[in-house]
């Protein structure tokens, strides 16, 4: 398998603190309403306590990216060296087709630029040997980076409840499920 960088979202360690989301904003300054990385609370049907377990999600840098396939102007590329899906904003004409088509809602419309944009895995930081802004910021190590080509089989899953199963696009993000404490309540 070719090298494929992926986000590993460890919900057992995640404290839903939104640090990753703000670290991303701090680094890229997207305009109001444009969110590349969002922290989603799990429904009570999935984790029985409201707003106490989360998935931090951005672009999943899919094996067969919908955004890339549907873009009429070839504004997306998938990097050979690490599988990172990059949106080339200067090529984008702002048709919104990727935004509509990505099942994970990763591309967003930037109303100032009038073009789409999305998480780029901070590839300019990767190229400088640095971690992406979100991963560097995570205070508990819940968000990390793995290479799927080298990922040992373990307790990580690809399609946990709360994350749409889209086998055709094959999203690279992997998850570790949250745990529950023993509760002694009145």
């Amino acid at each position: 398998m070719k090298k494929q960088y992926a986000f590993l979202v460890d919900s057992e360690l995640c404290i839903g603190c939104f640090t990753c989301a703000m670290a991303c904003r701090n680094y890229y300054h997207p305009p109001e309403g444009v969110i590349w990385r969002q922290v989603y609370p799990l429904d009570e049907e999935i984790y029985p306590h409201r707003e106490r377990a989360f998935y931090s999600l951005a672009c999943n840098h899919c094996e067969n990216p919908t955004c890339l396939n549907v873009c009429p102007v070839e504004a997306y590329t998938k990097r050979e060296e690490d599988g990172v899906v990059v949106h080339h904003q200067e090529k984008c004409i702002g048709c919104g087709n990727c935004i509509r088509s990505c099942p994970y809602g990763a591309p967003k419309y930037n109303p100032v630029e009038k073009r789409a944009e999305k998480c780029s895995f901070c590839h300019e930081r990767l190229d400088a040997g640095l971690k992406p802004a979100c991963i560097q910021s995570c205070p508990t190590g819940a968000l990390s980076m793995v290479d799927l080509a080298e990922l040992e089989p373990g307790n990580q899953v690809q399609y946990p409840a709360g994350f749409p199963k889209m086998e055709d696009v094959n999203p690279s993000t992997r998850f570790i499920l949250p745990k529950l404490p023993r509760l002694v309540r009145r």
């Binding site: 670290a23 904003r25 590329t77 400088a128 205070p139 508990t140």
Partner: protein, 747 residues
């Protein structure tokens, strides 16, 4: 390449905008995602060291990347093993803060409080108005006690003690002392051990058993969570005790939801069981403890596990199991949160928990400890604070109370400042006579956001002749002021920051020029001093120069250098440094700071100060309404800071009331209904979210200020009832923030 060219022109444009003074439009895009983008090059930036000055456990060291005089992005200082290169959601929002369009940009005068009719004035005009009023007070009252100053933890940068210094340099004034935060627990730990002194939080990885009692580090100390998780990974058990199923609780092994304010009973029940089981560390209690026998007698005579179970709602079997596990783990530690001591019995409860840790021999042990906080690394010169009174100043006769951060040695003067309880700000403004409070200086604090009984506070402020507020945003206190002075953000001033939790020290460099006309508290003091001396020579001793960098440099001394192992403060430019600790454990030599030099299960000072000598059970406050009302911190803000920023509101747009679905059903309230929460203090409308995270008898609303246009304020529902302790070390008792009650109905 074409892409680089366009990026360059955009940057030049930004630079032009800053030059034109319209940077309120920032942030625009600095880093446009491009595949052709070259690898990140730190050489393109100027890097500065900053430190988060908020009242927070983590006191993060920050690396600030500046280009063209604009903060582009920040990150945690990688040198600190505590913050490990990361900040928190609030910290990362700082990049927006200096450039927020909502900032107070110039000195402004409001024609009519709460009128919103703000008019820009020059610094000179503002200082003239203020100085003349101060001189008028002195003239009419014969002293300056009519000038009050309220300041707390809005900015913990050491140089901000210039606010106190400025007041001292004017004469004897009225000071609001005490703290709404943690004083009951400080007193408790001082009675028990002779100081508040916690282990290095980084040594929690060594713990075999961790009880987090009334703290929510997953929201309020995110960087400590990794040590707890690492301890857990190494096999430690984590028990979280909290009336709310917090995010921290969700990460533990066991969650206990006791009745609010029953912590003392719970701890004593555990202590009794440990005593019965013969699991007491006799070496500690015999050699390093004082009065353990009396405490044991008290337990045997007054406490049973069943009684504790009844008081707390935690089953007896559960109490026995955790007590035994805690006593047999080595080391075991308890993190005592500030939330659990914000009760009328908070100090007593902390003493009970301290005793539980001590009797199991976990005090003075690495990976152990009754962790609360410390001020070991705060030995600065307080150069900005210590100022001479002008000659002939007349003050208050009868001695002044001192705050927990007041490190000055006692003054021998016959006069002193007049001190009043910061936790009863409204009542004290109304009650203080001879002379009455006529003018108030507010800095590093937002009384309308954090002080209690907000409706009363508004009445109290209306009796004041002049209110001057130093702030960054037009909050509710500013709305109730006559003059607002724009103050610098962390990026715009020099200072230094220490933590009350970890042992790192961080420099805060001036990374950008102050935006608009903002000045630091030191510069404001200097400006006022110039004006005072211009109008009445000798009326203010506050130095009129030099710059803030030199003021900051004056805070250092050999003691600090030795503690941190540096030769000079400039070494901090290379990154934060950690105190050289003989042991990661506090009290590792078992030389306690108490009169006996031992851990005092029986404290005579405690008794002399009007409390019980032993860590006995104390009844909680009686309910005054239908539901318990809790108003703790949200993860998106600290008090009234951060949620006013548009960046933060991307992730948290509005406040909610959290209540139990069964209680809501009884009230006919459905999820996301607008409700009215009300009690004897006032009322607050808010949208309800139903969740079993809170107990059925509990209403929970997170404290926050959502910025301009929002009137949401939990202080409409919180009275100013005092906690049991706090006066001994903080100058005034704490406040029973979590002993509040309210009712709710569909709005």
């Amino acid at each position: 390449m074409a892409t680089n060219k366009s990026a360059f022109s955009r940057r030049s444009f930004i630079k032009g905008m800053v030059g034109a003074g319209v940077a309120g439009l920032l942030p625009c895009r600095f880093l446009v995602p491009q595949a052709q983008a070259a690898a990140f090059d730190p050489e393109e930036f100027q890097v500065f060291r900053n430190a988060c000055p908020r009242n927070c456990y983590d006191t993060c060291s920050i690396k600030t990347y500046v280009k063209d005089g604009v903060v582009r992005f920040i990150e945690g200082a990688p040198e600190s093993t505590f913050t490990r290169g990361g900040l928190c959601v609030k910290g990362y929002a700082y990049t927006r803060r200096p450039y927020s369009p909502d900032r107070v940009k110039y000195p402004m005068v409001q024609d009519g409080r709460r009128s919103g009719k703000w008019r820009r004035v020059s610094w000179d005009e503002a200082m003239d108005k203020i100085a003349r009023k101060i001189l008028e007070l002195k003239e009419q009252d014969g002293n300056l006690l009519g000038l009050g100053m309220t300041k707390y933890s809005g900015n913990f940068g050491i140089t901000n003690y210039a606010v106190e210094g400025l007041m001292s340099s004017l004469g004897y004034t009225t000071r609001f002392v005490g703290t709404p935060c943690w004083p009951a627990g400080i007193d408790a730990q001082n009675y028990d051990m002779g100081n508040m002194w916690c282990n290095d939080p980084e040594d929690m990885v060594k713990s075999k058993y961790i009880i987090i009692w009334g703290a929510n580090p997953a929201w309020c100390s995110v960087h400590t969570m990794k040590y707890i998780m690492e301890a857990k990974r190494r096999g430690a058990k984590v028990v979280v005790v909290d009336p709310v199923f917090t995010q921290t609780a969700a990460k533990g092994d066991v969650y206990w939801q006791p009745k609010t304010a029953s912590d003392g009973a719970l701890a004593l029940g555990m202590a009794r069981h440990i005593l019965d089981k013969g699991m007491v560390d006799r070496n500690f209690t015999d050699n390093h403890g004082l009065g353990f026998g009396e405490f044991a007698d008290y337990l045997r005579g007054n406490v049973t596990v069943e009684w504790a179970a009844e008081q707390s709602g935690i089953p007896a079997e559960e109490i026995r199991q955790v007590a035994e596990e805690f006593a047999s783990a080595d080391p075991a530690t308890i993190w005592i949160g500030y939330g659990m001591q914000r009760h009328t019995n908070g100090g007593a409860s902390v003493r009970s928990i301290d005793a539980l840790v001590a009797m199991t021999g976990n005090v003075g042990k690495e990976g152990g400890g009754a962790r609360y906080g410390h001020l070991q690394t705060w030995g600065f010169n307080y150069n900005a604070m210590i100022q001479q009174k002008p000659e002939g100043s007349v003050g208050f006769v009868g001695g002044a109370a001192k705050g927990e951060f007041d490190f000055t040695s006692g003054s021998e003067a016959s006069y002193s400042d007049r001190t009043v309880n910061i936790n009863k700000t409204a009542q004290n403004i109304l009650d203080t006579k001879d002379p009455a409070l006529r003018m108030l200086w507010v800095s590093c604090k937002n009384p309308f956001g954090q002080d209690f009984d907000r409706p009363k506070l508004e009445k109290a402020f209306d009796t004041l002749e002049m209110v001057v507020t130093v702030d960054q945003f037009f909050n509710e206190t500013v709305a109730n002021s006559d003059i607002v002075l724009p103050v610098t953000t962390l990026f715009e001033e020099w200072t230094v920051n220490a933590s009350y939790w970890h042992y790192w020290l961080g420099l805060n460099e001036q990374a950008i020029k102050p935006m608009y006309e903002a000045k630091s508290n030191i510069e404001i003091g200097m400006a006022l001093s110039r004006k005072m001396n211009e109008l009445s020579p000798g009326s203010c001793t506050f130095p009129q120069e030099p710059d803030t960098r030199e003021w900051m440099a004056k805070e250092f001394n050999q003691g600090i250098y030795d503690l941190f192992g540096i030769d000079d403060w400039t070494a901090l430019k290379n990154g934060p440094v950690k105190a050289k600790l003989a042991s990661s454990a506090s009290w590792s030599t078992f030389q306690f700071g108490t009169p006996s030099g031992k851990y005092e299960f029986r404290s005579d000072i405690c008794k002399d100060n009007g409390h019980m000598a032993l860590p006995e059970y104390m009844e909680p406050r009686k309910s005054y309404d239908k539901f318990r009302l809790l108003t703790p911190h949200t993860k998106f803000a600290i008090h009234s800071q951060f949620l006013n920023l548009d960046w933060m509101q991307e992730y948290d747009k509005q406040p909610y009331l959290y209540m139990h679905p069964e209680a809501a059903a009884e009230k006919g309230i459905k999820d996301l209904d607008m409700v009215r929460v009300f009690n004897k203090v006032g009322e607050q409308k808010v949208v309800a979210k139903l969740t079993t995270n809170v107990a059925k008898d509990c209403l929970l609303i997170y404290e926050a200020w959502f910025g301009k246009g929002s009137t949401f304020n939990v202080q409409n529902l919180v009275d100013d009832e005092s906690a049991d302790m706090g006066e001994y070390k903080a100058g005034a008792p704490g406040v029973a923030i979590h002993d509040q009650f309210a009712d709710v109905e569909k709005a």
